[in-house]
């Protein structure tokens, strides 16, 4: 009996969620093939945070790593959820768009370069407001410019989830991969409660939160593609598969008439039962855990 069989799976399993953004991005690449670009030692920090007495981070909470994923050239762009909630500022937004634009340029010149977006973010950094919002619009544009030429894969693992304007970047991606713990939505529960009241959304109701925003729901209703376990090896394997994916003639966010009809068919007289949407909307996407 081999040594590997004597070690239970739950002992061997390494949590992806417990890794910081940098280590998450690194874990996706073939060993020895990757390099971080404009990392902390380049010291390109936010010029706006110190003006408000907020300590900056040397990489502005965005890590760009280029290398090979299962032999294919790829760039991973990870947002560090532990810094300012993973929010987008001038610098972190610029790193993301620049990396996507360079991947698009290379891909169009015949050097296909996939992009993996590790989105752990609350959206726009309020301390940089309009530059953050403009950056988000530019990220969305750059994802759309790359998508016809190479896969753009959004990976949301938790615990911050993907909210605010960056949820649109997830929405226009070629593929979205989520763990059960992950959440994806435009407005978080606290914001809904604040704007529309507790009856509309009780932000303390964790079951409700995951029933609406959680990975299992998003995959089950067909707005995300794969539900994956919080496991470094399994996530790496899933991403490797998507990096090799063929380009498609049409992506989810181009399916206007399908979803327009689905929205028109909604009964809005009461709150919508999330589970019913899984039945009505699932495009045959496998909602079970990989």
């Amino acid at each position: 009996m081999s040594q590997a069989n004597l070690i239970p799976e739950f002992v061997r399993r390494q949590s992806f969620i417990e890794l910081d953004g940098r280590r998450r991005a690194q874990s996706l690449f073939d060993e020895g093939t990757w390099r971080e670009l404009v990392g902390p030692f380049n010291r390109m920090e936010s010029p706006w945070l110190p003006l408000q007495g907020i300590a900056p981070q040397a990489d502005d909470g965005c890590i760009v790593i280029k290398g090979k994923i299962d032999g294919m050239t790829a760039v991973a762009i990870a947002l560090e959820g532990g810094f300012q909630g993973g929010s987008i500022g001038e610098i972190s937004g610029a790193k993301m768009t620049a990396a996507l634009d360079l991947a698009a340029k290379d891909s169009q010149a015949g050097k296909r370069t996939a992009a993996v977006l590790l989105l752990e973010t609350g959206g726009v950094r309020l301390q940089e407001a309009n530059l953050g919002l403009a950056a988000v619009a530019e990220v969305i544009s750059s994802v759309l410019a790359l998508r016809p030429h190479a896969p753009v894969i959004t990976l949301i693992a938790g615990t911050v989830g993907c909210f605010g304007g960056m949820s649109l970047a997830a929405g226009v991606s070629s593929y979205v991969v989520m763990t059960r713990e992950a959440r994806l939505g435009l407005n978080g529960p606290e914001v809904i409660e604040q704007e529309s009241g507790t009856d509309e959304f009780d932000a303390s109701d964790r079951a409700l939160i995951w029933a609406i925003h959680g990975g299992e729901q998003r995959v089950g209703m067909g707005l995300a593609d794969t539900l994956i376990e919080d496991d470094v090896e399994k996530i790496k394997e899933t991403i490797r598969g998507y990096v090799h994916a063929d380009l498609r003639p049409e992506y989810r966010s181009q399916q206007v008439e399908l979803y327009r009809a689905r929205i028109a068919a909604l009964d809005t007289s009461e709150q919508i039962d999330p589970r019913s949407l899984r039945q009505k909307w699932s495009n045959g996407t496998k909602g079970e855990l990989r």
Binding site: L37, L144, L186
Partner: protein, 277 residues
């Protein structure tokens, strides 16, 4: 303040389309019409409040599910219809923006408003990338998800130089609460930190606007005002046609080279390091 939201949008939509009846088939919150601009036809799009929306959280002029998909529907139709035309003949698209925000509701989150917003911004960006000149005219408010859904993918953005124009990521009260400051403190911070300002003149310093428009009273435009704005729109359309179909122009203005110099430097650094990786 809130009673003005959407009124300016409708005012300018009606003015620029010469009170033409909007296309049928849309929810009441969407005004869509083809109208003459210069010597060509353009598609005008506007989101307005619909107090009797079947979605309770969009009755004040928020951009919700139906609105996002209606916009995308019109945009995709124009893209398909003009598919074979040369770039110079692709119809311009004019987004008239006066939106309170995105919709904050449970129905919206359940049904995936993040995705609806993505579908609309995809359609706008696709129109731009296909060669349609996409112009945004900010007639009132342009906030966060609402602006991302309707208008922020434009080639060129124009806004009135008026205190009623507000472009930002979050309304003052909510932003104050989240950043744990008073509204007054937040406004003061905006004087020192340009991207945080709620003043459209400070927004103009970010280099994202093609032009600040001067009209005596944007809520009650005269015939002369409307003609002047039409000329500004035509100028923006021509400028868009001369330029790239991506958003690179947003970093090329003199203002951007100043206020966005850190972002520009990061892009240059990434490009310099990219090849050797």
């Amino acid at each position: 303040m809130s009673e003005h939201i959407g009124l300016r949008g409708r005012t300018w939509f009606q003015a620029l389309t010469e009170n033409r009846e909007p296309m049928a088939g849309d929810p009441s919150s969407i005004l869509a019409s083809e109208a003459q601009i210069g010597d060509e036809l353009a598609l005008f799009l506007c989101v307005v409040p619909n107090p009797s929306s079947r979605f309770p959280c969009v009755r004040d002029g928020q951009v919700g599910l139906e609105e996002a998909f209606a916009l995308a529907h019109h945009l995709r139709s124009v893209i398909i219809e003009d598919r074979e035309k040369p770039k110079a003949q692709k119809r311009p698209i004019i987004a008239i923006v006066d939106v309170k925000s995105q919709a904050y509701g449970r129905r919206e989150e359940t049904a995936g408003i993040f995705f609806a917003a993505a579908v609309s911004s995809d359609a706008y960006a696709s129109a731009r990338m296909a060669g349609h000149p996409v112009i945004s005219l900010i007639a009132g408010h342009a906030f966060s998800g609402g602006f991302l859904t309707h208008g922020y993918q434009a080639n060129r953005i124009l806004a009135f130089d008026d205190s009623g124009i507000m472009i930002h990521a979050m309304h003052k009260e909510a932003a104050a609460r989240i950043t744990r400051r008073s509204v007054v403190e937040l406004e003061q911070l905006g004087h020192e930190i340009i991207p945080m300002s709620y003043d459209v003149r400070d927004y103009a310093k970010l280099g994202l606007l093609h032009k600040l428009l001067h009209v005596e009273d944007p809520q009650r435009p005269t015939a002369a005002d409307i003609e002047a704005i039409r000329r500004d729109l035509i100028d923006a359309i021509q400028d868009a046609r001369r330029g790239a179909t991506d958003l690179s122009n947003r970093l090329q203005s003199e203002a951007a080279k100043q206020t966005r110099k850190a972002g520009i430097a990061v892009r240059a650094a990434l490009e310099a390091q990219w090849e050797n990786a």
